[in-house]
Amino acid sequence: MTIDSVVAGTPDETETTIALPSTAPRQQSGWRSFLKALRKNVVAQIALGILVLVVLVGIFAPLISPFDPAAQDLIHRLKPPIWVPGALPGHILGTDDLGRDVLSRIIYGTRVSLLVGVAATVLSGVIGTVIGVVCGFYRGKIDALFMRLADIQLAFPTILLALVVVVVLAPSLWVVIVVLGLNGWMSYARVIRSEVLSLRSRDFVTAARAIGDNDVQIMFRHIRPNILAPLATIGTLQVAAMIVAEASLSYLGLGVPPTIPTWGGMLAEGQLYIATAWWIAVFSGLAIVLTTLSINVTGDMLRDFADPKAYR
């Protein structure tokens, strides 16, 4: 806390000088106030903790996974988690239908999920933001064109489109990323466009024009900082949605090639054995739920934090 640094400028003797009331909080460094905001929010602490854990697991997968995720052991197939009778020692979360270690596969699946989620989000975010800003700022024909395009694409079932493209192009990690990325720009474009529409007629933009700023300067200095909060919110939600979309594609067998372990793929395989070997589907599903939930909660907190007024 920096209460002692709160004291505003000393009152001046000149009549016109105004000292700010000493109750006004001094602007803290971003990191400090972030921690302060986090301390008040237990749910966000847990979510952020899980998220950090997931990221670390993804990065250090080869170091922490107990087994080779691709190593088959057909004799010990469908063994339950170790706290269930009949478990095979060492395989903490049991084995799948080919005798592969479930925990190791979930750990490696983290990498795919995070990579696809983040990369597709960034791709769609960049495309959507550029289109949204241009449409909102210039309006007219460009706006009409891209918004109708967005309507069309929103009316089209995303997963179907993705399926067709993946089938045509042959499944690979990068095809999945690009397909999902090209499918997610509409929500950014629409939200950012409406935001920019209201921003461009605000007085501070008028003042900037009077100063002589050109369009690019106005976009970067005045529009950009004001769309970061909605971007963060959509972005985090989108990461979660992309992870689920990738899982859906893999579940349908058309995502990432089956040689790469993914949560969605495991869910699909586990479904066949749900009655006898529930652990395959349950743990991979749990990984998806926990990760996306944590991302959403963290996104909410980030949004609140990114709004300078929300915490004062």
């Binding site: 000149t14 006004a24 501070f204 003042a207 100063i211 300067q217």
Partner: protein
Amino acid sequence: MTETPTPAPLLSLRNVTKQFPAHGGASPMPVLAVDDVSLDIAPGETLGLVGESGCGKTTLTRVILQLAQATSGSITFDGRELTTLSRRQLLSVRRELQVVLQDPYASLNPRMRVRDILAEPFATHGLLPKGRGRGKAARDAVSKLLDSVGLDPAVQDRYPHEFSGGQRQRIGIARALALEPRLVICDEPVSALDVSVQAQILHLLQSLQTDRGLSYLFVSHDLSVMRQIADRIAVMYLGQIVEIAETEELFRNPRHPYTQALLSAVPVAGHRSSRVVLAGDPPSPANPPSGCRFRTRCPLAQDACAEARPPLASQGTPGHDAACFFPVDSITELARAQERVAPAAA
């Protein structure tokens, strides 16, 4: 005032018209927001512009600032025609022609620190040194600016929401002054503020004017504020200037019935004067009345008023023009006429 040879005006408008294209509706009509306005502002002068909401005051300021393109007419600033300038040429004019906006809560970007808000004019006009010294130069320039508007330079690391309305308006004024302009257009700079703060801001604007020899185009609907700050006042009604005179002359001897009605609405302490309460709302600028724009609400309107638009004609005192065929001499006379036309409810 004295009749010294008038210096060349700093800003000069000639027959400026701004028409907004028709938009939707059953029978869309173009909106004539500013209609044939001619004005001069001398160096060091404060010209007040009064009129009710929607009369085109703000549109006129935007047209002068070249934020909206005039439909026709000429705007010269310091001898240069603004309406035909290229973007690049306009940039150099903007250094001398700045604006203070009405709402201090909307005119400052909520996500920028005060320092960034005030350093922006310098950055846009390339006035900051490149490389190492840039941050320090910006800091120093911003400190000087804040000091000149009576704020502690230490506040530059804060965000706008940490300030009160009056303090924000000081920041807005500081931003307008950053480029050391010669003419500042004040678009209702105090109407969003408390009365006590209004006085402080007006005082600040006046002392800045004396220190820097600024000219102001001061837009307001508040006549008491006008009387305090303006050297001359132009009264606007439905896009047209209906009367223009030096401040005291206008208050003492208003000629146009609209001006008289406006002035009669100003409360005067300990003095009960006859008031003229105009009936109805101003007509739509999309469909203005023929002839005199004011005739639909004027108790003295005659047939001639519907036929031709009355030109701005001298009213005896130099510099006092009014656009009325039948100007009245006293407010009581107008009040009596109003009573006849529309007997007051009270």
